[in-house]
Amino acid sequence: QKEVEQDPGPLSVPEGAIVSLNCTYSNSAFQYFMWYRQYSRKGPELLMYTYSSGNKEDGRFTAQVDKSSKYISLFIRDSQPSDSATYLCALAHDKIIFGKGTRLHILP
């Protein structure tokens, strides 16, 4: 089993919809959980960062971590065309492992 699994998509949703992006992982040593956003032809940039189970909210974005299920999610409310990008989960303990990224398209 790979350390981090993420569906590559693409995922297309209409503007205004709620988007749910997910990753599963196998190594219980992971302590830090991050979501990066990568626009086309740009470097990834950190969107959300958590280090415990539960929810963390920042504007339209909510990161959720369930350590017991080894499952992390990113929810985007009121999605906008400008949210169209690739979203990569990233998990860290002594090193950081990135998911393969999910390509998201928000349709106007």
């Binding site: 590559p8 740009k42 950190l46 990569l88 950081i96 990135f98 393969k100």
Partner: protein
């Protein structure tokens, strides 16, 4: 501007050539990374340096040789380029005393013909 910068942004070269990519960060970070992102967008770590010392060296052909002249710079030299080396190479940096956030450069798109 405080940032991670890479040169060149684009690199097109023939198979068998040797090329270098340069990275500089002015964020005061002590750890720098090289990542390779293939056509399927999979971001894979290649090397990591902390205070000019190599701390991560993933399974990478020895044609790839990183060099860190100081904490703010991490260069990547590639010998005998192969078609499979075509990818986008990202440099990133982090301060180990802070969070795990890595700051990425804009990437170098390498095309080997």
């Amino acid at each position: 501007d405080t940032a991670v910068s890479q040169t060149p942004k684009y690199l097109v070269t023939q198979m068998g050539n040797d090329k270098s990519i340069k990275c500089e960060q002015n964020l005061g970070h002590d750890t720098m990374y090289w990542y390779k992102q293939d056509s399927k967008k999979f971001l894979k770590i290649m090397f990591s340096y902390n205070n000019k010392e190599l701390i991560i060296n993933e399974t990478v052909p020895n044609r790839f040789s990183p060099k860190s002249p100081d904490k703010a710079h991490l260069n990547l030299h590639i010998n005998s380029l192969e078609l499979g080396d075509s990818a986008v190479y990202f440099c990133a940096s982090r301060y180990t005393g802070g969070t795990n956030e890595q700051f990425f450069g804009p990437g170098t798109r390498l095309t080997v013909l």
